[in-house]
Symmetry: C2
Subunit: 345 residues, 2 copies
């Protein structure tokens, strides 16, 4: 994989074309995924290394993307540890007994990937052997995982989570500390088995004011990403609605900042680089909803993304959030080809 575009660009180098992959590229938009998965539980699928391997490979074959991302979930380690979290179709992660007091923290013991979820490691091994593009490993950032654990399910306002951080910061930070340890164990295990990059998903960080983000979320994420520094793999950091947080998120120890569709790449780059005092590689940021409108709107939006990037070599093309289930996969195939052609150097 010498001169392979995805890692070359992620490391701040150049490539023959802008690499492309899609968050949630493995998923319900693909008929071959729906056939394989049927109506079964996503946790059961993740627990089967052969299904995980096949589902991770499907979008690479279909779309010709420049990277694979492990088929998994940010709640997988907690599920594997028996914390009592399920992924309910149409809802998302549901926690049987949400965390409300200090005694609940005992359930968040250290995560041992080889013992708790050996099937994940097995899938990573199989994938690294089969793939001819890099495999991205990932974990959930402490804030976002904590929100699921405290709210008990996906939340619009994160009311309980914000109340906890503001009224019992000691408990909040201990919770985040344990979740940081779990994320570190998750990511280090994936990298040790051959994942070529890692992405920390802080999906709901955008619900926080910049001040709350810096105080209550950034420290634990910084610890997670810092603990990956010695591995040498590029570290990606992403959340939705994070326009005002990008500069802070980029200080956590990242090589690539993911940007959602709300912030044009030129603005994102200026904001991050003026905060960091150095260059940054950006990932994004076509509105995933536009893709559901068909090829012509998608093409126009891709042209806009590339125009905002203005030919900067530090760009990994992606959507601004995950592929929506109602997406026509044919449009994504066209999109990969289009971006490759438009950026051929």
């Amino acid at each position: 994989m010498i001169d392979e575009p995805f890692l070359a660009v992620a490391r701040g180098g150049t490539a023959t074309h802008t690499p492309v992959w899609f968050m949630r590229q493995a998923g319900r938009a693909l008929p071959e995924y729906r056939r394989l998965r049927g109506e079964g539980s996503i946790n059961d699928a993740i627990a089967d290394p052969d299904i995980t391997t096949e589902v991770t490979l499907q979008p690479v074959r279909r779309y010709g993307v420049d990277a694979a991302i492990l088929f998994s979930d940010i709640m997988t380690p907690l599920h594997a540890m028996g914390v009592g979290v399920d992924i309910v179709a149409g809802i998302g992660p549901v926690v049987a007994d949400p965390i409300t007091t200090r005694s609940d923290l005992a359930r968040l013991r250290p995560y041992e990937p080889d013992v708790d979820a050996p099937y994940v490691g097995q899938a990573v091994r199989q994938l690294v052997a089969e793939l001819d593009v890099p495999l991205i490993g990932f974990a959930g950032a402490p804030f976002t995982v904590a929100s699921y654990l405290v709210e008990g399910r996906p939340s619009r306002n994160h009311t309980r989570t914000k109340a906890l951080m503001h009224t019992d910061p000691a408990l909040w930070f201990e919770l985040c500390d344990r979740l940081a340890d779990i994320a570190i164990a998750t990511l280090r295990s994936q990298v040790s088995l051959g994942a070529g990059a890692v992405q920390l998903f802080d999906s709901w960080a955008g619900a926080l004011s910049p001040s709350d983000y810096r105080r209550f979320a950034l420290p634990a994420s910084t610890r997670v990403l810092g603990a990956l520094a010695d591995t040498g793999v590029p570290r990606f950091h992403f959340g939705v609605g994070t326009g005002e947080l990008l500069a802070a998120m980029a200080t956590a120890g990242v090589e690539v900042m993911g940007v959602d569709w709300r912030t044009p790449l030129d603005i994102a780059r200026e904001r991050i680089e003026s905060g960091l005092g150095r260059g940054i590689v950006l990932q994004g940021n076509l509105d995933p909803t536009i893709v559901t409108a068909g090829w012509e709107p998608t093409r126009e939006a891709a042209v806009e993304v590339l125009a905002a990037n203005a030919g900067h070599p530090g760009h990994i093309f992606n959507l601004g959030h995950g592929v929506l289930p109602e997406t026509d996969p044919g449009v994504l195939t066209e999109l990969v080809t289009f971006v490759h052609e438009q950026t051929r150097r």
Copy 2:
């Protein structure tokens, strides 16, 4: 109401203290509201001028805020016109037959406030007679109202709406045009009966990329706000998650830009003023979720909001979104007193 602080500041002048009001200040956080409303339909309550008057007055009495906002809903005109929209508790606006084709537009005939919803005008008249603070009228911006009509209910991704705008822009613009006419009729009627200011709620505009916002949402909102220019009342414009849209939204013809809690006021002011080339009055922006955590976190957050505003006289204090139902009204009372004291000139 000479030298009354709310309108003085909204018009770009100064006042003896920073005025305060809260979006959704009339609502479920107040026990007197819950007692009066019981389990009845919100549309029935809005259709009763005495209930509307009482519910609008309750937060003025309780909190000592500097402005009242008419108890109503952005979907009220459409409900009154028989478009078939209901406000379902726990969900929000639900449209029986969502708009999908050109023939559906016929249902969006011109709105005649005196004929279609005389009870609203009656409530405005009663309120103006009783209030000793200004009454804010409001309407929904065409994009946000269109999203409800197209999706049929509150939507996270606005998939159908974005697909419609991108695949049939002619139909989209005609839909927005009709909704702009309805918003204009709504606001002009409220002002003619004595409302002292108007706010255009484009609650979901933040779902759009800046490019989509400028192309598909801004023109109709500009027409609405422009049609209020000759009335001389200050025009407020607000949406959630609009950090990247503030500069564009401010060009629509506004005296006051509302800011959600994600964008600190100093950053918002700089972004808007550099786009407009003139000063702007800002409204906001304490995270409404923080208020549910109690007084001390609320006080800290209020100090941060005031610090970000840095003593600028062009500031109307508000939350960054509506009061949440689980809010302790005592905390909001303390907040009004605190902001008044901290900003006394």
